[in-house]
Each structure stands twice: as C-alpha cells, then as structure tokens.
C-alpha cells in the first residue's frame, strides 16, 4: 500500500498532487480524513451517457455493411439501390415495433434536435389556425424542455403563435409537472403541446398519461409531442400506453443515446396521429425521400445502426432497468458515505419509479463551482458533466435546474452523472471514492 498521511488544511493545488489516488475513511475512525495514496487507478469511468454513448460492437458491425459493399443510394433503381432501400425499411420497422407504432409513422432525421424542430415547427404550421395576420394558435411547452424545443418554439412567435411555458409543481421536490396548472392553461385554440418524457438533467419522469388526458379534455385538437430522447431504451415507449388514445402524438428519438451512431434520430408519429392523417409540414425541402416530409439522401449506415441499436436496447427493459437502478443506488450511497456535503437533488426511491428514471442523477456539490469539480474529477478519470452537453458550450444556467427551485448560485454547483446498462455498481462506488479524494479540498473553496 502507498503512503498514508493526514490532511490538514486543504488547498486547491493539493487536489492535483493526489490525482492518481483515491480516498478512504479508515475503518473505525471518526477523526480527520485520511487519504491513502494507492497506485494509479485511473481507468476512466464514463458517467456521461446522457451526453452520448459508445457505439456497441454489434451496431458497428451492422453499419459496416453499408459503409462497405452495400453502398447504394436507396433512391437508385438498380439492385444496389433497392437493397439499401430494403435495409432502411427494415430499420424503420425495428423503430416502429419498439414503440408499437406503424412503420409509415417513422421519419428518420439527422438526430433528436432535428426531430424536435420538425415536430414543433412542422406540426405547429400544419395545425395553424386562421389566415396570415390573425393569431396562429397557442402552444404549450414543458418547463424543462431541451433547447431544441425551446428555441424552435420561440421562433414560432414570429409566425403569430403564442408560446406559453408550463410549470413544475411547487408542492413537491421531485420536479413533477404541475398538470392542474397545465390544464388551466389549455385553450380552445391550443394547437401544440410539447413535454419531455424523462428529464435529461435530473431524471424526472413526467406524467405524460395525465397530461394527455388533460389535453383530451380541454384541447382535443392539439398535438402532443414527447421528447423521448433520454427515455428511449430505458422505459417502454408505447404511445398507445403512454398517451390518451384520443390524442394525436409524436415522439422524438436519438440513436447515439442508446449505443447507436451519432447523426441519426427519428420523429415517430403515433397511430392516432396517422389515423387523423396528420403530418408535420417539412422543415427541409427537396428530393422527395420519406414522402417529402423529410427529404434528402438517407443516412443508410446510420439508419441501419439505429435499427440495430433500438432492437438491442428495447428487448429487455426489465434487465436494463435493474442494472440502472443498481448503478444509481450504488452511486448515491457511495456519495453519501464518502463525500460530505453532497446533496442528491432527487434521491432514488423504490416507490417512486413511476416518477423518476434511474439513468440520470444530479447532485449539488459543496464549495467550488461544478466546472472546478469536473476538472478534478476528469484528472481522476471520472467523466461527468454539468447539465446537458448542449448547454455546456454556452455557459448558460440550466432553466431545468432553476425550475426545480435552485438558486442561480446553486445551479452553478450541480454535477450530472448518467448511466447506461453497461455501468456497474463498482464503477459508481469507485467514482464516488475518487470524488472523495478531492472533496475536502474543493468543498472549502
């Protein structure tokens, strides 16, 4: 075993000197923290699966076909083209069957962001009321939506739409949607409602079923769009089960969050949406592919990879769910044990599984801002993030954290850990141990 020494008054540079170690409380001691410097244990622990995931070998193998010999353009009429087209349709069926929808409702896009833009702008325009110059209609979006929903909805105000943001329930600390308030905001001219299924920062699982019943009662002509990017592969996504059957709905998905490739996603229209003959107006024009709703030469390898990834990710929710809960619990308990002053924003609770998803957890850290913590964690081989990768670039405070009631000072001290089914309890415990090795230094910054 390595050097053992006492930690007196910690200071920031100290953290650098111990980056190769991890900390442990000596059994039976309550006194000052003891750090045990062990041989380097810096095998990276990737806990940023909400940002992106590793492409699984079987997905990569599927893609290699299209990146190799099966390179045809699906619109070409020779066999190389029709084979590519058949591969795309196979992937379309895989996506549809994992959601229990019909394959003609699956529109492949370049990812979740484009799918969200297509849903918001495409459906709002398709359902626009009145003539140019008169009010176009009322839109409701969730309080914690991804920037792609917020920004595209904001752009619609220039087209005469009125955009309103729903709110979280003030009464509970678990970040649930205030559906009574949402219902009260619904109007006869509400044409579109967007609400994510699983929060990408702290894992709240929103009650889409109840929201959709409110829509059915108060704004039955409105279309409900569900950003399911963080939910895909983790919980069953069946519009027929999640959404009131009277409500037309759509779901946006992204392949790279489920060990599929980047650059491909889908907007999936529910059967109710198809039965109502509702299609979003295109936001990209030209070429005629995918019924002209989303033209452009299809990303054949990406789509094939998506098909393989979604089939793998959705075949055993029970096992995936168990693995995620195990990882989540291990992290929370290790953090509580090893890292003083940390508060889990929404702690896991076995009787709250209907309102929370295990795969993403946010914690409030003491002392230093999240950027500093992340820097030190990174040096210790623990890879996490502060909020979503999309926000990371912009240094803006997360509206989702503020909506949860955090002060802006607190919102700067939030770390996000996110898991995939491959994350083990050992990874999580080890991550917490490594975090402990810098915690006393950073807590007092």
């Amino acid at each position: 075993m390595g050097v053992v020494f006492h930690l007196g008054k910690p200071h920031a540079s100290f953290a650098h000197s111990i980056k190769a170690g991890h900390s442990e409380r000596r059994p039976g001691t309550k006194g000052p923290r003891v750090l045990i410097i062990l041989p380097p244990m810096n095998d990276p622990i990737y806990l940023d699966h909400a940002a992106t995931t590793r492409v699984s070998p079987s997905v990569a193998a599927t893609m290699m076909r299209a990146l190799g010999d099966e390179y045809g353009n699906p619109s070409s009429r020779h066999p190389l083209g029709s084979n590519a087209s058949a591969s795309i349709e196979e992937a379309r069926r895989a996506v549809a069957s994992s959601l229990g929808t019909r394959s003609e409702g699956v529109l492949f896009t370049s990812g979740g962001t484009e799918a969200n833009n297509l849903a918001v702008i495409g459906f709002a325009r398709a359902l626009r009321r009145g003539k140019p110059g008169t009010p176009s209609g009322h839109i409701l979006i969730g309080p914690t939506e991804h920037p792609s929903i917020r920004a595209s909805a904001a752009s619609l105000t220039e087209e005469g739409f009125e955009v309103e943001v729903m709110q979280l329930a003030r009464s509970d600390k678990r970040g649930s949607l205030d559906i009574v308030d949402a219902a009260a905001r619904m109007r006869e001219d509400t044409v579109f409602v967007a609400q994510m299924l699983v929060n990408n920062e702290y894992g709240t699982r929103y009650d889409i079923a109840r929201l959709s019943r409110a829509i059915a009662a108060r704004a039955p002509k409105a279309h409900l769009h569900v950003d399911a990017v963080q939910a895909l592969g983790k919980i069953e996504l069946d519009p027929a089960g999640l959404v009131d059957r009277a409500v037309s709905s759509s779901f946006s998905l992204s392949a790279h969050k489920i060990h599929g490739p980047k650059g491909v996603g889908a907007l999936v229209l529910s059967n109710a949406c198809l039965d109502a003959k509702r299609l979003p107006l295109p936001i990209i024009h030209g070429g005629g592919q995918q019924g002209d709703v989303r033209p452009g030469t299809e990303n054949v390898p990406g789509i094939m990879g998506f098909g393989a990834a979604i089939a793998a990710a959705t075949h055993d929710f029970e096992a995936t769910g168990k693995a995620l809960v195990t990882a989540r619990k291990a992290l929370e308990s290790a953090l509580t044990e090893f890292v003083p002053g940390v508060r889990v924003l929404i702690p896991w609770s076995d009787d709250q599984t209907a309102t929370m998803a295990p795969q993403v957890v946010s914690i409030l850290v003491p002392g230093a801002p999240s950027e500093v913590w992340l820097h030190h964690l990174e040096e210790l081989g623990v890879y996490a993030s502060a909020g979503s990768a999309c926000q990371a670039k912009k240094h803006e405070l997360s509206p989702a954290l503020l909506a949860l009631g955090l002060t802006s000072e607190e919102a700067r001290r939030v770390l996000r850990f996110s898991f995939s089914s491959s994350t083990t309890a050992e990874d999580c415990t080890e991550a917490a141990r490594r975090m402990a090795s810098v915690s006393s230094a950073l807590a007092h910054l």
Binding site: S75, N116, H256, I284, G296, C390
Partner: protein, 411 residues
C-alpha cells in the same frame, strides 16, 4: 470482374477504405460528444471535428470558420436559401436586400423544391432556361437581375448531365451587383478544382457521400469576408456550428468526410485524368459501334466522371431492363428516377420525350477500370442493337424516312 458494374457515381459513391479506417475508432473508442467540455472523450471528439473542418476548408479554399456541418447537401441547400431569405429578405434583421432569386430549370430537386417553397412565402423566383447543353450563361444572369435580386442559386456540375456552369464569371457579376451567390457544389467538389474565393462564391453546399465519404453528412460554406454572409438558422437548439445549425455533431462521419476531402485534394489531378480518360473511352467505344447516339450535356464543359447519352429509337425502360443485371446505372437522377416522368433537366434542355426516356447516365469514379468501361460499352451496344432490330422506327429511319413527317394513325 464483379457484376453488376457500378457506374452510378453521381448517385452515391462507395466509402473509400482509407475513409472507413479513419472513421472506425470514433464509433467505439473515441465516442465522445464534441460538445462535452469536461472530459477527454469530448475533447478528442471536438479535436477530430476541427481537423475534419480544416480538411473541408482546404479542399474548397475557405477558412475552417466558414464551414458549417450539416446532415448533407439537401439540408445545406435549405439553410443557405431559406436562411438568406429570412436574414435579408425582410426588415426583421436590419439590412434588406430583396426577395428575388435567380436560378435555373436544371437545378437539383432540392434547390427547385426550396425555391417553390420560398415562392409560397413571398419570394419571386426566376427560373432560367439553359442552352441545349444545359448551361446557363453570364449574359442570361445579367439580364435576369433586378433591383431586388437577393441571390443567384446555381448548380456547378449538373448531377444528371455533368454540364459545368461558368461559376467564376457568374460569381464576379454577382459581386459586382451586390447579389449573393449560392452554388450547389455537390457534384463538383472533389472532382474539379474549387476555390470559393477565386470563384467568387458566397454560399456553397457539398456532400460527403458523393466523394467517397459516408452518407448523412455534408457542409455549407458560408463566406465570412467581402461580404460577410449571415444566415438565420433552420434547425435550432444548443447553438452548435456557431449558432447556424444545432444538433450533436456526427463525429465519426465528419472524420470520414474530412479524410474524404483530403484524399480528393491530394489526388485531384490524377483522378480527373483517370475519370476523364475512362469517360472518353466509354463514349468512343459506344459511338464506334452505334449511330444515333446523342450526348446530353456540354462536351467542352463536362464533369470528368459524368456521361449522359440518349439512344434514339430505343425505349428507355427496355434499355434499362436489358442492362440491369450487368450495369448499375441511372436514367435521370436517382432522386427522381422512381417516377417515370422524363427528367426535368432534359426537358429544360429541349430534349424530346423519346430521347429523354432513352437516356442513360454513366457515372465513372475512383474505382472504375478500363475493363469495366469496355464491358459496359459492349453491354450497351449489344442491348441497343437488339432493341433497334425490333424497332420499326429505326428501320424507317435507316430507309431515310423523316419520322417527323409521318402521320400516325390513331387507334
């Protein structure tokens, strides 16, 4: 030799083995999100995207800051045209240029469809008819220009017939008149020399899968100086690509795109010579055995690897059926070939429906060999001869009857 012989390089190209090799580590090893700022997976991804961006920039003579990555050419075209109209077409964003767009009837469907959409939204679009080789002249553009002309949008190398437009000259005119110049470079970039500054281009789309890179990625060149072009983004959220195009970057495919650009840049002259040589060989071999073969395109201004021929007195569908097992070729562009409508490009050039229906586009590329080209020519010759032997029209033509003077009896 493996059949069918692939001669459809304008529809798509195989991913070059070197491109694929460059991509592979980014699927499973360096799999980070380029927007992740806090760990090496993110940094490695961002670095890879930066390198790719530099390679794209080098190939087209721009700076890397002028390259906006998209999901392909179609999206890039949408961003360029709609983004410019929204930025400059009305008073919302300050400088007003106008809402008149000049384009041509032989553009790719993506440009035409976007123009149609813009017309519904208050734009005025002039569709120029090209000459019978499919080329648009500087004079035509000059004549069509108005006070309120916002943009000229033209294809560089035509995807169906390979005709190359006089881009540099038209660009000079646009700059003289303070009109934005958008070029659809999808078929030209990587195949002929491209230098966006020397060629006076403001906006240009390109696509990886037309140049031995993967499908699902492309780029838009957006000029940053003299003039600095600004666009209203079309896909919002997250603010990637300097706010012009949001969405998690497709890192492995962009790595492939960059490598594809590098290979095109380093081998440009060699490949131009290779594909031009094969194109000339193919045409000569066909013409040596067949008469009444018409070139659709401009013999003096043709993409190196594109040859579009019409075979008179032959029915197009029968011709395609006859060669389908041995040759992978297209009639018309891939995006429109699912319909039996004659190609809008050939129509605009004044090619009659019969000749348009019997047109075949031969796309020659990096991997095409002399042996393949000879084989293709022989299959074409064989099939056309067989079909003409069955054709009363060809027989009449051989006898010197002017078919246009024949009065056909109705049924």
């Amino acid at each position: 030799m493996k059949t069918p012989i692939y001669l459809d390089y304008q529809a798509t190209t195989p991913v070059d083995a070197r491109v694929l090799e460059a991509m592979l580590p980014y699927f499973t090893e360096h799999f980070g999100n380029a927007a992740s700022r806090n760990h090496p997976f993110g940094w490695k991804a961002e670095e890879a995207v930066d390198t790719a961006r530099e390679e794209v920039a080098k190939l087209i003579g721009s700076s890397s800051k002028e390259v906006v990555f998209t999901s392909g050419s179609t999206e890039a075209i949408n961003l360029a045209l709609k983004g410019a109209v929204e930025m400059y077409g009305d008073s919302d964003h300050g400088k007003v240029k106008g809402r008149h767009i000049i384009t041509s009837l032989v553009e790719h469907k993506a440009v035409l469809d976007v123009c149609k959409h813009l017309e519904k939204n208050g734009c005025d679009v002039t569709y120029l008819t090209p000459d019978k080789t499919g080329r648009v002249s500087v004079e035509q553009i000059a004549e069509a220009m108005r006070e309120d002309t916002l943009m000229v949008a033209l294809i560089w190398g035509n995807n169906e017939i390979g005709t190359i437009n006089p881009i540099r000259e038209i660009g000079a005119l646009c700059h003289e008149k303070d009109v934005l110049f958008f070029v659809d470079g999808t078929q030209a970039v990587g195949k002929i020399p491209v230098d966006v500054y020397a060629d006076n281009i403001d906006l240009m789309c390109l696509s990886a899968h037309k140049m031995y890179g993967p499908k699902g990625v492309g780029a838009l060149f957006v000029r940053r100086r003299q003039p600095r072009v600004r666009l209203v983004s079309q896909i919002d959220g997250g603010g990637h690509e300097r706010g012009m195009r949001s969405g998690t970057l497709n890192v492995p495919s962009l790595v492939g795109f960059g490598e594809a650009c590098r290979l095109c840049r380093e081998n440009l002259e060699k490949e131009m010579a290779h594909t031009t040589g094969l194109r000339v060989r193919l045409e000569a071999r066909i013409r040596a055995s067949l008469d009444e073969v018409h070139l659709n395109g401009n013999a003096d201004h043709l993409l190196p690897g594109c040859l579009n021929l019409s075979f008179a007195y032959v029915e197009g569908e029968s011709l395609l059926m006859g060669i389908n097992n041995s040759l992978a070729v297209s009639s018309g562009s891939a995006c429109t070939s699912a319909s039996l409508e004659p190609s809008h490009v050939l129509r605009a050039m004044g090619v009659g429906d019969d000749l348009a229906h019997s047109s075949i586009r031969f796309g020659i590329g990096r991997n095409t060999t002399e042996e393949e080209v000879d084989f293709a020519a022989d299959r074409i010759i064989e099939t056309v001869k067989r079909l003409r032997d069955l054709s009363p029209l060809y027989e009449m033509a051989l006898e010197g009857i002017d078919l246009s003077s024949v009065e056909w009896a109705g049924h």
